[in-house]
Symmetry: C2
Subunit: 387 residues, 2 copies
């Protein structure tokens, strides 16, 4: 029998059977009434998950394509923008803005730190007339979830648009697109939205659309207005052939998420985060990601002593079929990251913790044996949530 596999990374994430089944249907042409109805429903469901009345643009691309669309639609060469970075994905905003010739004002933190609204407000005031502020909601390279609501409140009134990378947070962490005044929010299918990678979604406020109309930049595939024109048809369409199977999958996944209820999903993710942190601490490991209930996407654990995280991840994968992720950049080998978003329950977390425990013990590390799983289940609390 092929061994069971556990995909415990902060994206891609495991695909629920109903999503796999929706994707396995015979292919339907994208200009049929049948596909248009599915697309329309998926877009409506997305707006619910985004908690927005704004339009949500769907792209066939990685999440990075959705991020690039924000820069390409808004930023003309020389435009001043503020980019907040405390990890790998914050750096991506900076790289993207540079690629488009922006005058970038970076607000940089050590990887692992949590951006502070005061710093962003100060940088914005110093910058003077910035067109946009680019933020990362969940920095998956470190496990930090920023308080985007608070930061956005400080940007409000400055004239700058608020652009948020919520790729690994949407559906797992509370995010209020409209209530928080977020102009652009980028998400990806392969995180808490429980669908394989290949779709990016971008909510666009009226102010952002107006700014895009004023920006004379070279763009076509990622042009918001071109996509929205097709999506606004009586029965929505896409301007180019979309990843049809993934749209079916996303629609089915959103149905599952909304049936669970967004608030229930947020609560489940809080408890999964608690479980993972409790288990890691019980075996005597030190957390790299914050030890608080905002850190629900991925738990980053410091490797003790001279233990090489890369070797640990390889052993956990080869011996147990469990995929974890390592550190990026300067954190390579130093941390191991356990993702717990989307179609994940507490026993996925206990499996990852137990495997990690055994591998570390075999490497001669002084971990406490036999306590992590019970501690995790205890911290999770209540009944295991059935989704």
């Amino acid at each position: 029998m092929p061994s069971k596999r556990y995909l415990m990374t902060p994206g891609p994430t495991p695909v629920p059977p109903a999503v796999a089944a929706a994707m396995a249907r015979p292919l339907v042409h994208h200009r049929t009434a049948e596909f248009r109805a599915v697309l329309a429903r998926a877009l409506a469901r997305l707006r619910e998950v985004y908690r927005t009345d704004a339009e949500v643009v769907l792209f066939t691309s990685s999440g990075t394509g959705g991020m690039e669309s924000a820069v390409a639609n808004l930023c003309e060469r020389g435009d001043r923008v503020v980019c907040v970075s405390a990890g790998n994905f914050g750096e991506r905003w900076i790289t993207l803005a540079h690629a488009y010739g922006c005058d970038v004002v970076p607000v940089r933190y050590e990887w692992g730190e949590t951006p502070a609204a005061d710093d962003v407000a100060a940088a914005l005031a110093d910058a003077g007339g910035a067109k946009a502020v680019f933020l990362t909601h969940s920095e998956t390279s470190t496990g930090v979830v920023a308080d985007v609501g608070e930061i956005a409140a400080r940007v409000a009134g400055s004239g700058a648009l608020v652009v948020v990378d919520a790729i690994s947070s949407l559906g797992a962490v509370p995010l209020e697109t409209d209530a928080w005044g977020l102009d652009v929010v980028v998400a990806g299918s392969q995180k808490a939205l429980m669908t394989p990678p290949g779709l990016a979604t971008v909510s666009v406020s009226e102010a952002a659309l107006a700014a895009a109309n004023d920006a004379a930049t070279a763009r076509f595939y990622f042009d918001w207005e071109r996509v929205l024109k097709a999506q606004r048809e009586d029965r929505p369409a896409t301007p180019f052939t979309p990843a049809i199977t993934l749209v079916y999958g996303l629609d089915a996944a959103l149905e599952i998420l909304l049936a669970e209820g967004l608030d229930a999903a947020f609560d489940r993710h809080v408890r999964l985060g608690r479980a993972c942190r409790a288990g890691a601490k019980a075996m005597g490991l030190e957390l790299f990601s914050p030890d608080d209930d905002r850190s629900v996407v991925v738990t980053a654990i410091r490797m003790p002593g001279e233990v090489d995280g890369v070797a640990v991840i390889r052993a956990v994968s080869e011996r147990h079929g469990i995929t974890l992720e390592g550190g990026r950049g300067a954190l390579a080998g130093k941390i191991v990251r356990i993702g717990h978003i989307g179609y994940v329950d507490v026993f996925d977390v206990t499996a990852a913790l137990t495997a990690l425990e055994q591998v570390l013990a075999d490497l001669g590390t002084d971990v406490e044996r036999g306590v992590a799983a019970a501690a995790a289940l205890e911290a999770f609390g209540g009944e295991a949530v059935r989704v």
Copy 2:
């Protein structure tokens, strides 16, 4: 029982069971050895299908994204380019080049005409110093397949790069990337490559790569060098999370295509084209697409008299579960297009013809009854090819 469905459009095309099975496997993380091996094999197989030693760039996007990558990597604002257009997808090159501020020299034909090498050579000479010539191999809006080899031979030595949209032709129509001196060839997963939509592939010659390195344009997601840097690792990777399920599907589909053999696949497509044309003519219909063996991707049939092609397509779909395509632009309602690329056999073609025959007869059209299927099978010849 749900009715069987026939997807007889020039893309997306039906997915072979082995491809569907490959895509239905549990999701694997894209930074694992397992995925990298599949990616490496798919890229090697792609080079075989392209008949090239050049690198092939893989994007998670629609085919249009691959087309945009050619413009974005090569064309700086003000660059002069020649765009050949004889249909909807030729127009897309012109729109894309304009979006990037190019000085576009269009070589335009009536939709349905076949571009001539002489015209392209003359336009290129008149233009003086054009950076690139943009061509469409198979113009799916009309069914015309251009002689790209002959045109490229006339461009050779001019200093202009040859860029080809082969989205609906690669794998169905002979195309020799290296032998014909094609610098950039764009394809898509959802045509003769028998995979659902969502992947674009782009072969890039050394000359094209050098030109891209010299072009200071705003690009990130579609930047060739960024993707190639990841693909060139010992075990190839992608710079951003790819559409993992589709890469597994593409790899399985390319295995099928290469097992059949490219030349055998080209021959099968020639015979499918013959079958479709013979059937349409046998029932007394007039062809819009050329009545020759180069027209193997899609057969475009003129609707007789005042018959509305849109109504015909709707009836064929609703009554028989067969998806055909109509005309685009000025051809809307005037033609019906039957696609026959990829995982298609002659009985798919006879099904489409027979359904079309019945629907036209019921609309009071004077079609010859009961002869199309036999004529098609006769024209197909030999044994039905088993793939």
